[in-house]
């Protein structure tokens, strides 16, 4: 059969090469890519996920039985209704004036059971509880606020670290190539340390509490922020900088008057994103004891208090939504 090239040659036209979109090479590549994906998917239990999920779906419509669905229903049944009230045994409280209880709170009589290991028996005892209807909600909200504060201070310290490092890590403003490489390396180092791992170490150093979390956040995100900042400085338009420096202004002044105004909007957007991200991350940092709402979450989870856990999750969810709303508003204003 004559190819297009043959015809072209016969007619004496110029011999230009045609091309095919799909070649044996493409097929071979796709085949190997598929094999690789299949192997990797098996390693990460993707097959199990597919099987279990479809089992759960089938079970939901009444066919067969599924561990996944059972797990979900078990959590669900224990999580609802959400727990907003707090109950404290009166005997554990000091300075309670029964005539003047806190607002909306009341005394409830109940039965507390105690287990005796020696005799292997349960003894039941009448106890009085002080019930505060939204006591637990208040506690969770306060912890959420602490979490937000952690995110805020993490961001502030991260800016304080990343601002000078970012300038030193920008190729065109770094005083010396050695300084440039050191600061770039430093930023990469900060970026490469996951918050949870850093927080583990900092809890060892500073003890349990928010300070470990704040510093962990600051260290990780300063690496991210510093890199963004350095890249933005490097990519700022060169013309105005040249104009000012050829008039004799020193590089810090040039930085202040041409580069900063240019990078500011992008930079504010980065900082906002980092702030949001820090708050979200701060909610889990408590799991290793670094303060915030995560500490309460982990504690309640370990006690199987799923109704309390559900309250915490709800508050985290609402807080993240609200923050995102405000940060969106702020972004629309600044850009």
């Amino acid at each position: 059969m004559k190819t297009a090239n043959d015809v072209y040659q016969e007619k004496g036209w110029r011999e230009w090469q045609t091309y095919h979109a799909v070649t044996p090479k493409t097929v071979l590549f796709l085949f190997f890519a598929f094999v690789l994906l299949a192997w990797s998917g098996h390693n990460t239990e993707m097959d199990k996920a597919a099987v279990e999920t479809s089992k759960a779906v089938l079970s939901a419509v009444g066919i067969g039985d599924s561990d996944v669905l059972n797990g979900v229903t078990k959590f669900g049944s224990q999580a609802f209704p959400l727990k907003f009230e707090s109950r404290t045994e009166l005997t554990r409280l000091e300075d309670v004036d029964l005539q003047d209880l806190p607002l909306f709170s009341y005394i409830e009589e109940g039965v507390s059971s105690e287990y005796d290991v020696d005799t292997d028996t349960w003894t039941e005892e009448k106890t009085e509880y002080l019930v505060e209807p939204i006591g637990y909600l208040k506690k969770v909200l306060w912890m959420m606020w602490e979490t937000i504060e952690m995110g805020f201070w993490g961001t502030v310290i991260s800016i304080m670290i990343s601002l000078p490092l970012g300038i030193l890590a920008a190729r065109n403003y770094s005083p010396h190539p050695i300084v440039y490489h050191i600061s770039r390396g430093w930023l990469s180092f900060h970026r490469a340390m996951p918050e949870l791992i850093v927080a583990l170490f900092l809890v060892l150093i500073y003890g349990f509490g928010p300070i470990a979390g704040v510093l962990a956040l600051a260290i990780h995100t300063s690496g991210v922020l510093g890199k963004f900042f350095a890249d933005e400085i490097e990519n700022a338009p060169k013309g105005p900088q040249k104009a000012l420096s050829s008039a004799g202004a020193n590089s810090l002044k040039v930085l202040r008057y041409t580069v900063f105004p240019h990078v500011l909007p992008a930079w504010i957007a980065y900082v906002q994103y980092i702030f949001e991200r820090n708050i979200r991350t701060a909610t889990v940092l408590g799991i290793v004891g670094a303060g915030g709402i995560g500490m309460e979450l982990k504690g309640r989870w370990d006690l199987f208090d799923y109704d309390h856990v559900a309250t915490i999750l709800l508050i985290i969810f609402i807080a993240v939504l609200v923050l995102e709303f405000f940060s969106q508003k702020l972004r629309n204003k600044t850009l």
Binding site: P240, S246, A247, L252, K253, R256, Y257, T258, P261
Partner: protein, 275 residues
Amino acid sequence: MLIFDKVSRVYPDGTQAVKDVSIHLKKGEFCVLLGPSGAGKSTLMNMVNGLVEPTTGKIILDGEELNKKNLQTIQRSVSMIHQQLYLIPRLSVLHNVLTGVLPQAGFWRSMIKSFPVKDQMRAFKLLNEVGLEEKHLTRRASELSGGQQQRVAIARAFMTKPKVVLADEPVASLDPAMSRSVLNSLKTAAQTHGATVLCTLHQMDYALEFADRIIALRAGQVFFDGSPSEMGKEVQIRLYEIERKSLEKQGPIIESDAVSPPLQVSKVKPKDAVS
């Protein structure tokens, strides 16, 4: 005032941009450099503010030879207006003008954008001179029209009380009416402040209209040097041909790209054309 003394420049890749140029500029002169792209106009200008070093020869400003030692002092008495303006888009007009005094401003003061009242008053005066009203002061430079931006650039250039103002094709991107008015502002400002202006232009008719002195360059050498009235028709036609040839080298000429023919140009009377 500004003396180029047998100045040559060879770039590292071997191009001879400027060859044995000797020019003596008087104080307060409005001098236009004409010539096709690659004739060495920009190289000659960049030598004055130290962006390019001459290979041989020397440049003398106010009796002081330009070298690395006094580069910063020289840079402060030389201002530049760039073709692309290089204003800072997100800064206000006032701050853009004030960046003209940035080299002399105190470091910490300038970091918080604080400028002495004296400098602010000078900025107002200059903006007024180039024809910008007070309402534009707080607008961002990017919100202005091309002509207004060019005026801001002129005001910025005169902030430092410069001895020499270098203007690199200041009207390249403007329409004819706006170009005339901007060149007029530049000339008036230069006269008021007694600054020597070295300005490159592509349009010969503007050169004839505004210049005190025209220097035409070809392949790095001075081809014509004199006042507009000394510039005969033959020189103009010759210049026009040079420009056309250099355009042909770059690619096929589309009619609208070509330089306006010299016949129209000669109709302009240089002296009373300033409006």
